[in-house]
Structure formats: structure tokens, C-alpha cells
């Protein structure tokens, strides 16, 4: 944390755990008897509970979206650039709710939680969770918080999928869905990358079929590889080129296979850091949730028909160099919304950072996000 707290920071925040006793039925046919959701909130809920905004996180995200947990924190929450006083998701106007999704590894019930039936971590016994399941659990959280209708449900990437799913499953419980750098379904290429990541994890000798907790180890190398390959898909060729080019760590080639190029050591560092803080089973679960997401599936592949159930307004944003979920994927979504006569606004923001651009404030992105959220706030009198 900087020496003095920036004026546009939500400041020091602390997460809260909500325990749910009633069983939740999941898409896979199983159910969880009870579960915890770890939640952070920023700002104040107004008297008629109309100013609540739900933040949905992406693959490796969690509840800590903004502010700092302590003065010692090196970095703020993962979306601090967009959440705070005077920022697009203005905490002076909105009550912001951010949670760690079910199946996560940051405090909400997930594969690394203790299974009450066995007294041991769930591991591979933890059910596969879908985007729809997340939305369902988020709706139960909304009930708990006294929020009948979100002013907006907002998310990037996998978070955007949750926002879209919200609009289909609970059309009368949100006014706006903000879907950023997302897609209505994964392509074969997207699934292929996920499969490489999963193979990296499951073929690690320390994986022990997902029961690595029992062996007091973690499939670190597998998780590291999974993150490395994932990370490549989050950046663009241009941004990697600009950041690293062909730069070497030392002056000359060493004619060996150690990390000689800067980009190699960067990826290794990212992978290692990630493997120390993330649970491998959660990574499997999150990538599967991505693969399965396809709201048009039960409508014969026609997303327009799926959207007939929706009634909220949409903001869809894509980034020019995002090759993971390209602008064309967002446009597919937008066209389906147009076909379903839903109110939608769309922009493709020119940004060099690939998929990661949704986390990086650029002037146009911030302007659009500000303008849209300002209108949402005015609409609910916040």
C-alpha cells in the first residue's frame, strides 16, 4: 500500500463469511448441504436497496476486488482501477458486493474445504460447478443482503458470463448487465487451451488424482504450467513484444534450456507465484465452468431465443487485441441481443493488452464505463 491512502481508494477493507445452511442443488445433479461464501462490500446500501452492484470475478479472481486488507499489502484488490470513490463503479454512490465464487480457493467453500461427511478436504469429490450454479448462489447471497434487484451485475471474462447468465436466470433481479471482454460460449480453441492446462495439472505426479491434500503436497509444477499457458492467452503478441521483445537476461545465448529470454523468466515467475496461492482443483473446476458455459445450448444454439427471457439493459465491451475472447465473440452476443430486441450498447475499445485489457484503465474504457455507470446510478437515484 502507498504511504498515504489514495483519495479514490475504498481504503482498508475486510472480508466477511456468510454461512448458508440450506442445501443448494447444482446443475451436475449433486447438491451441497451447506456452504460458505466469502464476501467484501464497499459503499453503503441505500434505504430502498436499489444501489447494489454485484462484481463477478474471472478464472483466478476472488472477493478482494478493491482496497487493501492491511497497510502492508503490496497491491490493492484485483479491480481497484474501476472500483472506488469517483471511479466507474463509484463507491460513493453504489453499494458494491464482491464474492469468492463457490468452488473457489479463497475462503468460499471449494475443493480445499473440509467435507463434513468425511472430515477431509473435498478434493475430487467436490462437485463440478457451472456458471448457472454461481448465479444461483449469488442470488441467495443477494437475498441474505436484502437486495431484491441489482442496479447492475458487472464482470469481465468469466465474470461477464455470470452477468449474462444473471440476465437469463433472474431477469427481474437486475437492471443492467455489464459484460466485458467475454463470450457467449467458448470456441474449440478456448477449450483446447483449457485442456492443456488441465492436463498439466492432472499429469503432475503430485496431483494424486486430486487428493494431494492427503499427501501434504500440491501439484505445483502442473499448476505453474497451467498458469503459464493461460497467461499467454491473456496477453497480446504486441504487448508481450513491447514488454519483453527478444530481450535476454544476460548478454549472450548460453546454448542451454534454462530461462534465457526475459519472457521465459517472466512466465516462470508468474506461474510459480500463482502455484503458491491457487488451488489446483479449483483451477480444474473454473476451466470446466468456462467450457460448459453456453446459454444458447438449450435453445438449439440460438442465443437470441435464450435472451427472450431477459429484460435488463446491457453494456457489452470488447478489446481490439483480445484474441482469447475476440471482439467478434462480443459482437455475436450483441447481435443476439439486437435480435431479441434487448436494449444493448456496444463498443470495441482499442487497447494493446489483449484479454487483460479489461483490468487496465485506458482513457476510452474508463470514459465509457464512467458514462454508463453514471447513468445507472442516476436511474436508481444514487
Amino acid at each position: 500500500m502507498p504511504d498515504t491512502l489514495p483519495a479514490d481508494s475504498v481504503g482498508i477493507v475486510s472480508p466477511q463469511t456468510y454461512h448458508f445452511d440450506a442445501p443448494i442443488d447444482l446443475a451436475c445433479g449433486q447438491s451441497l448441504e451447506n456452504y460458505d461464501l466469502v464476501v467484501e462490500t464497499y459503499g453503503t446500501l441505500n434505504a430502498d436497496a436499489s444501489n447494489a452492484v454485484l462484481i463477478c470475478h474471472a478464472l483466478s479472481g476472488h472477493h478482494h476486488a478493491a482496497g487493501y486488507h492491511s497497510a502492508e499489502d503490496r497491491k490493492p484488490g484485483w479491480w481497484d482501477s474501476c472500483i472506488g470513490p469517483g471511479k466507474p463503479i463509484d463507491t460513493d454512490r453504489f453499494f458494491v458486493v464482491s464474492l469468492n465464487n463457490l468452488g473457489g480457493c479463497h475462503g468460499s467453500t471449494g475443493p480445499n474445504s473440509i467435507n463434513p461427511e468425511t472430515g477431509k478436504p473435498f478434493g475430487p469429490e467436490f462437485p463440478v460447478i457451472t456458471v448457472g450454479d454461481w448465479v444461483k448462489s449469488q442470488a441467495l447471497l443477494a437475498d441474505r443482503l436484502g437486495i431484491q434487484c441489482w442496479a447492475a451485475v458487472v464482470g469481465g471474462s468469466l465474470g461477464g458470463m455470470q452477468a449474462l447468465q444473471w440476465s437469463l436466470d433472474y431477469p427481474d433481479r437486475l437492471r443492467h448487465a455489464v459484460v466485458i471482454a467475454s463470450t457467449p460460449r467458448l470456441t474449440a480453441q478456448n477449450i483446447a487451451f483449457n485442456e492443456v492446462a488441465r492436463q498439466a495439472i492432472t499429469s503432475d505426479r503430485e496431483f494424486h488424482e486430486g487428493r494431494y491434500y492427503d499427501f501434504d503436497t500440491v501439484p505445483r509444477r502442473g499448476l505453474m504450467l497451467a498458469r503459464m499457458v493461460g497467461h499467454i492467452t491473456y496477453l497480446s503478441d504486441a504487448s508481450m513484444g513491447e514488454k519483453f521483445g527478444r530481450e535476454l537476461r544476460d548478454q549472450a545465448y548460453k546454448f542451454g534450456y534454462d530461462a534465457e529470454f526475459q519472457v521465459e523468466s517472466y512466465l516462470r515467475y508468474q506461474g510459480e507465484r500463482f502455484s503458491e496461492s491457487f488451488d489446483a482443483n479449483t483451477y480444474l473446476l473454473m476451466t470446466r465452468a468456462l467450457d460448459y458455459f453456453d446459454p444458447a445450448y438449450e435453445f438449439g444454439g440460438d442465443l437470441s431465443k435464450a435472451l427472450a427471457a431477459a429484460s435488463c439493459e446491457y453494456l457489452v465491451l470488447s478489446f481490439s487485441t483480445d484474441w482469447r475472447f475476440t471482439p467478434a465473440r462480443s459482437e455475436e452476443m450483441v447481435n443476439a441481443m439486437i435480435g431479441a430486441r434487448r436494449k444493448v450498447s456496444y463498443a470495441e475499445v482499442d487497447a494493446p493488452w489483449g484479454h487483460d485489457a479489461f483490468l487496465i484503465p485506458t482513457p476510452r474504457y474508463t470514459d465509457i464505463f464512467n458514462a454508463y455507470m453514471d447513468r445507472v446510478a442516476r436511474e436508481v437515484g444514487a
Partner: protein
């Protein structure tokens, strides 16, 4: 409100689904939504205009008519397709007109008249490409790459089997003038055409 927009809004009925091509900052659509009970979308490529639309609650899609066309809109999905002061800036106005009347049952088009006497006079006297309030650019940087006259436009409509339901002619300040009604192609600066497919 600008008189041309005033005229246009009278043609929009409550419940009409409207597509506005080159919707600018969304002023017209905003008005049509609030005052006429219409719904619809605007297409725009100017980033500031797009942001302005979003800020005022006008549904706007970033879409370039020249490169992307209207292929993402279904046949007959709009009651009215509007294009104010943008026909002269697209690469193929003829195709845009076809597309307008494919996706909408009616089109409303406004554009500056290149046969207005002041432009004719300027060209005759100075031998230079004319400039005016409606056309304030140099020949080399103008976005208006497909200038035409009222007569040209009407000839194209005839050729394409497009019926002109009505035509209103206004001056540079978008005011109605009886002179412009008398000799539109000479004295009218901006025309507002309401068009449909010949049935």
C-alpha cells in the same frame, strides 16, 4: 430542437422501433424514446459520441457502415431507419439505401444539397470546390465523399424502385422557407426524404 429533427420526430409513432445510422450523440433517439415512446438503436463510430449516447441512456452500437454494413440486422426488424447527414459520408450510399429498406419498412434520409445556388455560385466564380456552413471542409479532408443533389438522389430512388413518400426542404439553419419549396434543387440546402420500397 433543430427543425429537421422536429420534422422527423413527427413521422415516428409511439412504439416504433427505430434504427439511427450515424446517431451522433444520441440527441434524436433520446428525444424519440422519451417524447415519442419509441425504442431502438443508434450506430456510431465516433468514440465521444458513443460515450455520450451511453451516458444518456441511448442504446448505441459501435459499427461502421462502410466496413460492416447492416448484415447483423434482420429483414424488416425496424419500423423506421434514420440517416441524418450521413448518406454523403458513406462509401456506397446506393447500397446503404438498399440495406435501410431491407431492415426497415421506412427510411428517413437527410443530406446537404450540392446544387444549392450558393455552392453553384461559389464554384462558378472561384473555380474552387465550394465550402458552406453545411459543408465546412476542404476537398482533401472532407468526410463528405459522396455529395449529390436532390435531383441525383431522386434519380437514384427512381432507378432503385424506391418510393419517396414525402420530401421536406430546409435551409442551412434548418428553417422552412417558401423559396426553397419553390425551387428546391436550387434554393434548398438540406432535404429530408421519407422513403419506402415500391410495393
Amino acid at each position: 430542437m433543430r427543425p429537421d429533427l422536429e420534422i422527423i420526430q413527427q413521422w415516428v409513432q409511439p412504439g416504433h422501433h427505430v434504427l439511427d445510422l450515424g446517431c451522433g450523440d444520441g440527441t434524436l433517439l433520446d428525444f424519440l424514446q422519451r417524447e415519442r415512446g419509441a425504442s431502438g438503436f443508434g450506430l456510431e463510430i465516433n468514440p465521444d459520441h458513443i460515450t455520450a449516447c451511453m451516458g444518456r441512456g441511448v442504446a448505441v452500437i459501435e459499427q461502421n457502415l462502410d466496413t460492416q454494413g447492416l448484415g447483423n440486422f434482420e429483414d424488416g426488424s425496424f419500423d423506421i431507419v434514420l440517416m441524418t447527414q450521413a448518406l454523403q459520408a458513406v462509401r456506397r450510399p446506393d447500397r446503404v439505401l438498399d440495406e435501410m429498406l431491407r431492415v426497415g419498412s421506412e427510411g428517413i434520409v437527410t443530406f446537404p444539397n450540392f446544387a444549392h445556388w450558393r455552392l453553384r455560385w461559389g464554384l462558378t466564380l472561384s473555380g474552387r470546390m465550394p465550402e458552406s456552413e453545411a459543408l465546412p471542409y476542404k476537398w482533401y479532408n472532407t468526410p463528405n465523399i459522396r455529395l449529390c443533389t436532390f435531383k441525383d438522389f431522386e434519380a437514384l430512388c427512381r432507378q432503385k424502385g424506391i418510393r419517396i413518400k414525402s420530401r421536406r426542404v430546409v435551409d442551412g439553419q434548418h428553417q422552412n422557407s417558401w423559396l426553397a419549396r419553390l425551387w428546391p434543387n436550387l434554393l434548398g440546402e438540406i432535404a429530408i426524404y421519407r422513403i419506402t420500397r415500391e410495393t
